[in-house]
Symmetry: C2
Subunit: 217 residues, 2 copies
DNA sequence: GGCAAACACGAGTGATCACTCGCGTTTTTC
DNA sequence: GAAAAACGCGAGTGATCACTCGTGTTTGCC
């Protein structure tokens, strides 16, 4: 009612120590979420993983959901920052194989370094707020993919373009799981290459280009 | 110790009513697992969905895990029965597009009719026993896919064949999610067709056949 | 140095969940 | 038709979990 405290109910001043604790707690939460999933993870387990008391955890987060939300938001920002430049106009003009490299590689790298991301964004067990964020991200990426597809195949109907973009994204998600499951090293690299081959062969006909890739290996 | 009760600790005689209750409980469990996931589903919620008291539920299942296991086992049997004939030698000799129809369609149909299957087999939240079953199923399907691939491209190394089979399966799983998300009807059919197109274009080069499919639509 | 605010703790609290128990009802068996 | 066995119930029980609170410690500021 009084116009002063408009929308900061918590004008809490954080000390450097507090910021460190938050980062430490989020790291611990990432590990535990990753290992057990959101629902099966207890807040006490997160606190224990962070070598901190439950009370300390609740000094920085109002509830369990808020931990996942903050973690998700930070990952989302990090991802947008690291990957935002992939869908630039100049990259959009690249020939298909190179464009695949430019778009796929950073996405793969991000998910390899942050396996929590998939765990949080994937399960139907996550609270509503995270699901919303995920939907927004998904819609954004899908729009980008549609734009690219529209650039390579201008004659497509909107429905066809949407379906192809969805399928492209689904293939990527499926392949991403495989890549993460593969042991780091040459095997993972080969899996990534295979995934790109799939996408290339699927999308090549759109551009009217015949498939010129030889059988793998 | 006494040699008589060798390995039936429960020589329980079931009446017809009991069998009906079990089926009813499993159906209810399927709906609730599907909606909320395994961990977030309470046994009381299953009983309520089945219009039955919690005590009645525990007359037929020793614990929550057993419900998921029984459900998973029944689905697995149903699936093997309905789909076991897909990988027959005569189907294996079919040209690629027809063989894709024969293998993909029943798998899609099964998952459309039993969406719980994916929900149970997918989450890392499920208890160990289901995960084992899933691994076994996965390994079996993968072996079948490898066999098919070996038939189409005999010259491949074992590692390459394994990688391609894995990728094929991953593509299918990703596409399956899309298909289930699409509203039943022409849109779903189009998505299925698109998924087959992906697989066809990916696997065609293995057979040395050039891709002859025109751009979709 | 002294005061206030932020930080840290961990036993405690209420809610929820998986699961049990005692008792009443229906079905099978002889 | 009566004993036995299977079925059905729902309040109750112990464990676990998300979250709190009272108290003590550290940090920033004058």
């Amino acid at each position: 009612m009084s116009g002063d405290v408009s929308e900061e109910p918590k004008p809490r001043r954080r000390q450097a120590r507090g910021e460190r604790r938050i980062a430490q707690l989020l790291q611990a939460a990432a590990r535990v979420f990753c290992a057990s999933g959101y629902t099966a993870t207890s807040t006490n387990a997160i606190a224990r993983e962070a070598s901190v008391s439950p009370g300390t955890l609740y000094q920085y987060f109002p509830n369990k959901e808020a931990i996942a939300i903050e973690l998700g938001e930070r990952l989302l920002n990090e991802m947008r920052e690291a990957h935002g430049q992939a869908f630039t106009p100049e990259n959009l003009a690249l020939p298909l194989p190179e464009m695949l490299d430019v778009v796929v590689d950073p996405l793969i790298a991000f998910n390899c370094e942050n396996p929590v991301f998939l765990a949080l964004m994937h399960g139907s067990e996550v609270p509503g707020r995270i699901a919303e964020e995920h939907d927004a991200l998904h819609a954004g990426l899908l729009a980008s993919v549609q734009e690219v597809i529209g650039h390579y195949a201008p004659g497509l109907s909107a429905a066809d373009r949407a379906r192809i973009a969805n399928m492209t994204f689904a293939i990527f998600k499926g392949g991403l799981g495989l890549v993460l499951a593969a042991p780091e090293g040459p095997e993972r690299d080969a899996t990534v290459a295979e995934l790109k081959a799939v996408l290339l062969r699927y999308l090549c006909p759109l551009a009217g280009t015949p498939v010129t890739t030889p059988p793998p290996r």
